[in-house]
Amino acid sequence: MLESELHDLSDDADYAASQQQGSASMMLGSDSAKQSSPRDGAEIVFQKDNVAIHPTQFASERISGRLKLIKQSSSLFMTWIPYKGHNSEARLSDKDRSLYTIRAVPFTDIRSIRRHNPALGWQYIIVVLSSGLAHPPLYFYSGGVKEFLATIKQHVLLVRSAEDANIFLVNDFQNTLQRTLSSLELPRAVPLACGPSDMSVDESILNENQERADNGVNSGSLSVTQFHGRPRHKAHDPARDLSIQVLEKFSLVTKFARETTSQLFGENHSNGFSANERRTHIQANLDHSKNSSNVVENTSEKSPVALDSHEFDNLSLIWGKPRQPPLGSEEWIIFLDSEGRVTDSEALRKRVFYGGLDHELRNEVWGLLLGYYPYESTYAEREFLKSVKKLEYENIKNQWQSISSAQAKRFTKFRERKGLIEKDVVRTDRSLAFYEGDDNPNINILRDILLTYSFYNFDLGYCQGMSDLLSPILFVMDDESEAFWCFVALMERLGPNFNRDQNGMHSQLFALSKLVELLDSPLHNYFKQRDCLNYFFCFRWILIQFKREFEYEKTMRLWEVLWTHYPSEHLHLYVCVAILKRYRGKIMGEVMDFDTLLKFINELSGHIDLDATLRDAEALCICAGENGAARIPPGTPPSLPVDDGSFYVQQDDEVL
């Protein structure tokens, strides 16, 4: 039986304010809904019929059920059971039923509840778990969201998020001690009665295991035997068993939610898993969870990579969409009409996201991905734009070229800038054939482009790191003017990385800290304890988009994937989370402090498996969903700046 602390339910001003916004009066925990079941000591404190999920985009195919809040001892649980015999709504097998059913989720496992009030349609809520996963939206066909929230508030601490009035945080304690206890307790739903010490034993087991897993880093993937070596949890701990079951179910439910999402986006099934494969996949997992065997054992070959906590083992198994081969010339033609327009840019972006580009195509496609050429432009229009832009480039370049040496003597800013650029271009990728050797003309082109850019955008000027970003672009475009304009397009988005006050970097590091808080609260708490919340150890990753972490070819692959903005503009932040999560066991197990962590992260350079990281990042991004997006302040690079003056939300002193 689960137990959890009964929290102080003193009234909350935020919540009271939310009540005033509504027009109708409400009944708290209506008597009609209150039933008591003396047999097991559980009390139903809330019950609502006609609460449905939408497995497809068609509301007519909804699955209706009954939502309940159940109080047992001092713990509150939520259940949602689909009705039996309502197969007219959607064909619902017993297996589907057990897939969708939400059985007794303890509120200690719930991080937040987001309320949605669409202008048209039914109110719905999304329940986000502390693991970062979320249940599919629950639509209240007969109303009752307010009552639902009010009832919860009677039993657990519910606080309205300062960031979004429609997000209600569960167990977000103000009290530091409680918060700490809670963070220890939440990840695996261990009853508080067991105490923090039990928790730390458990963590050390996981950490030990992760250390072993980390040994596989250099060889790229983990062997199956390492998974077999994973210590099992104590067999007779009902709380733990329940928590694992719940976590496994989360993965399934979230997988299901993803399918729904794909359908909403009109995704066809030609890429990745077919519908049948997906079904089989779910089925396999379902059967495993039923007979309590280890899911990893039978399916590990499908996912050579695993993150080190249970929920994310399942996550990568279920979500790990295989990477595809890069887009080649023959397939590329299919995306174009006879005049060279990209007919479906979304499909193209998606294809590039999952596979990248053959190197030969980069020259043609990068300009489109970067937004230099419009997708709807024809071959002829692109040729025309190219010639116009070449003249424009020459004009700007001429501005600094016409500065005489006598003039330069009285132009300190120019001399400094030029000197800095000249010092840096000879320190950029010189081991590559394209840039190696004395008097390599490409180094002069790098210099000319950077200096011209510093006249194109005089306010931003030049900052170290820009040459790293330009180098692959010049290598790919192999044309000075084209490389310049592609660089300009990239800097439209990444320019704030190089602001003198570093606010673009700070806002990304801040967003990263928020994402880790959402997706891995134990790791977040660890960083907090060790005074590492500034995330400076990820500085280089973000500043130059992992350019120093991967070899050149892999960097180009990663960049074109990021530039698709396919699942998110901020996929690079999820890439950060994915890498951190992969090494979380080592980081926490070895109790790394800021210095050790920084050195460790630096030394990961060259040892990160790009494909596996991208798969994990995609999974994390989709799992985080709206909640993840809500954690990233508007205007955070590479988003285009917002105009309302609230450009960088970074007042949180944790980052500064």
Binding site: T428, G465, Q502
Partner: protein
């Protein structure tokens, strides 16, 4: 490899003064004119011997550009020694020393040993800062001073080792509480703590450095 002590060093100074080259010359005994510019921080390490005790130097080589100062400042924490580098052929790198020193004083612990290095002394024909000016600056601010060349290796070994010797002496004199890692010193397995190790010394040499 076991060590008696581990000292954390940080190398600071304007961009292009040769910080990374000094580090490479010290750790690998080679000069590599073609290397990538430093983004954020790079690490190097080497064992040295002082007073017959093996001492490991963990060296943080930082990016020099002004824009990155806010990041660089977080690296000072817990550094036992700093090499403050300027380029004797570029006057402005010498002119910026005061601002680097201010950063170091503000963000490092007060007992950090600072070595001022005038690098590129092999380029005497292009000299823009005299040796006397360097000495004068060091004296005024209580720094150790050397001119060195990462290219010819002149004084490179000496600069790193003299800094370590100064830190070592401070340990012997009881200036540091070596059990407190915020001083940038870790006692290794073969280590013998200094006479007053384990006590918060009133740090007689605070704010300055013996030389």
């Amino acid at each position: 490899m076991s060590y008696a002590y581990l000292f954390k060093y940080i190398i600071i100074g304007d961009t292009g003064v040769g910080k990374s080259c000094l580090l490479l010359q010290f750790t690998d005994k080679r000069f590599q004119p073609v290397h990538d510019l430093t983004i954020g921080v790079e690490f190097g390490a080497r064992m040295i011997t002082i007073d017959n005790k093996p001492i490991k130097l963990q060296i943080w080589d930082t990016a020099g550009q002004e824009s990155f100062r806010s990041i660089t400042r977080s690296y000072y924490r817990g550094a036992a020694g700093a090499l403050l580098v300027y380029d004797i052929t570029r006057r402005e790198t010498f002119n910026h020393l005061a601002s680097w020193l201010e950063d170091a004083r503000q963000h490092a612990n007060a007992n950090m040993t600072i070595m001022l290095i005038g690098n590129k002394c092999d380029l005497a024909h292009r000299r823009a800062v005299s040796t006397e000016e360097g000495e004068q600056f060091a004296k005024e601010h209580g720094l150790i001073f050397m001119e060195a060349s990462a290219k010819t290796a002149q004084n490179v070994e000496e600069a790193f080792i003299k800094t370590a010797a100064t830190i070592y002496k401070k340990i012997q004199d009881g200036v540091f509480d070596v059990s407190n890692e915020s001083y940038g010193i870790k006692v290794g397995y073969g280590g013998i703590p200094g006479p007053s190790g384990g006590r918060d010394g009133p740090s007689a040499a605070a704010g300055g450095c013996c030389s």
